[in-house]
Amino acid sequence: MVAYKAKKLYHVSSFLRFMDSVINVSNLRKTYQVSKTEPGFLGSIKSLVNRKFEEVKAVDGVSLKINEGELVGFIGPNGAGKTTTLKCLSGLLHYDTGFVSVLGFNPWERKDEFLKQIALVMGQKNQLWWDLPPIETFNLNKVIYEIPEKEYKNNLEELVTLLEVQDVINIQTRKLSLGQRMKCELIASLLHSPKVLFLDEPTIGLDVVSQKKLRDFIRAYNQKNKSTIILTSHYMDDVKELCKRIIIIDKGRLLFDGKLEEITARFADHKIISVVLAKDIDPKKLEKIGKVREYSFPKVVFFVKREVASMAASELLQHFPIADLNIEEVPIEDIIREVFTGKNLA
């Protein structure tokens, strides 16, 4: 009897541990049916009679777990399945198979208690009412999300001050600049203090200064509110600056899930040695050291195997007229680009 109870307790606790993470996804799959139409008038007519569908696997067996308070970067090329995953997590899309739980809810059921605790911000879509000033959207969200008056006032004031948009929240949304609008979008999504925040390319199309400002804000927000954030972006800078953990996805599959630093170790078995030559020499001689990536006198860039990097460097210093030498890691941008294009780094 006791043994039985213990066993049962064990099951319960392991279940709880499993549910512990805020976001739990296992083996998520989503296929889109895309109808194909041949170009031109005749093509449209043909497609009326005989429509051809093609299945596109947007997400193909993704599993991941994200704990409370984590800020995770989700990267991948266009059409990798990032946005689709976020849409499944926020209950917009019905997935084919797999298990998804966010805050213990099945997003697909779109329960009010669930929706009140999440927010999805899409850089390319607006939720602000186009013809009305942002403050109208804020007020509407207050009512829709049933935010208590006091909390609403505090949140609004804090967010507006942090993002420095005091002057624009009373101007018609369509007259705002992209940067101003994006900030207001964020405010509209954060008024109800969501526990889980999905940010889909929030910095897209913004200038460098606004990008930085938004980034600083997201970091501060995450630290202060302990909210769980998934951020997708095309800009490596966003991810590099904000996220300790990144998830790389391509063609609907997970390529990498781990710490940012680990990417370098995992995918880049090479280092970069760049030297400045004191004298012009025959480039063929340099080939002995390693693969020459770039040669434009006086600058030479080598790719050498990680293990032999220091040896190659000393060899260079001994046998060549070197003015300056640097050993660097391959930039993350390059690694990721190479990972996506499937090319070997060397």
Binding site: G91, D112, M122, Q124, L132
Partner: protein, 266 residues
């Protein structure tokens, strides 16, 4: 709960005022078509004549009633859902902790009330310039039946329009269905052009089986006192049947269609 709808109501209003000119032009258009329709029908009447069983004042009342019910029953925003489905704008509302159907119903109500205010002025203007008499039923029971029937028809129209709109989950082009529904069925079969009983009786009998005449034609017939007590019960019953039918259908279509929603864009 009520607060949410009041706010949706408010924001829909404000949107209209952001595009005042657009709205005034739309009202002007409906005013002109109403005016033309009345002129056309009155031209048919000689002095003291009775056309298709309608006296001049009855026909005038019918046409005024049409203008009124166009705003009260047929005015709607819910047709926008199909555009939202195609362009992925629906996502924004799906993220809200509020029922999609209630949200759009709130918006429809706002649309109806703002149109109604303008319709009152326009109707008044037409009645004054053309010196029309408006017929009021004598027995109070007709007011009651009219009122109940209008309530049913507002709901019926909403679920009908919602069901049609969410066909956008399947068809990429809803324009054709909208046109078909909007012009052929709604305007013609609901009796918004002319009273349906001027058609050959076999034709009108067929039309009575469809949900459309219960939106405009029958409420006005009740108002004119041209429906017997027994018939009004039947009319209420059929209208209610269609209401339940489209309520169930819209739920079913939503459940099925939403699975196909692609949340495109972004």
């Amino acid at each position: 709960m009520i607060k949410k709808y009041v706010h949706i109501f408010k924001i829909t209003f404000e949107e209209y005022f952001a595009y005042r000119l657009n709205f005034f032009l739309w009202r002007f258009r409906s005013f002109v078509s109403f005016f033309a329709l009345v002129i056309f029908w009155l031209a048919v009447y000689g002095p003291g004549e009775n056309v298709f069983g309608y006296e001049r004042s009855q026909m005038a009342t019918y046409l005024i009633g049409v203008a009124f019910l166009r705003s009260l029953v047929l005015a709607s925003r819910s047709f926008e859902i199909s555009r939202h489905i195609r362009q992925g704008e629906l996502s924004r509302y799906l993220l809200w902790p509020i029922g999609i159907k209630s949200f759009w119903f709130g918006r429809d109500l706002a649309d109806k009330s703002i149109n109604l205010v303008f319709a009152f002025f326009e109707i008044g203007l037409v009645m004054l310039t053309l010196k029309l008499n408006f017929y009021f039923p004598e027995k109070s029971i007709y007011y009651l039946i009219f009122f109940v029937l209008i309530l049913l028809s507002i709901l019926l129209y909403y679920f009908l329009s919602f069901s049609i709109s969410i066909l956008a989950f399947w068809t990429e082009d809803v324009w054709a269905t909208r046109w078909l529904l909007g012009i052929i069925f709604l305007e013609f079969l609901s009796g918004a052009f002319f009273p349906l009983d001027i058609l050959p009786s076999w034709a009108s009998r067929i039309i009575y089986f469809t949900p459309f005449p219960y939106l405009v034609f029958f409420p006005l017939k009740v108002w004119l006192g041209q429906v017997t007590a027994a018939d009004s019960i039947r009319v209420l019953f059929i209208c209610f049947f269609w209401l339940v039918f489209f309520f169930v259908l819209s739920n079913y279509l939503w459940k099925k269609g939403f699975k196909k929603y692609g949340a495109y864009g972004g």
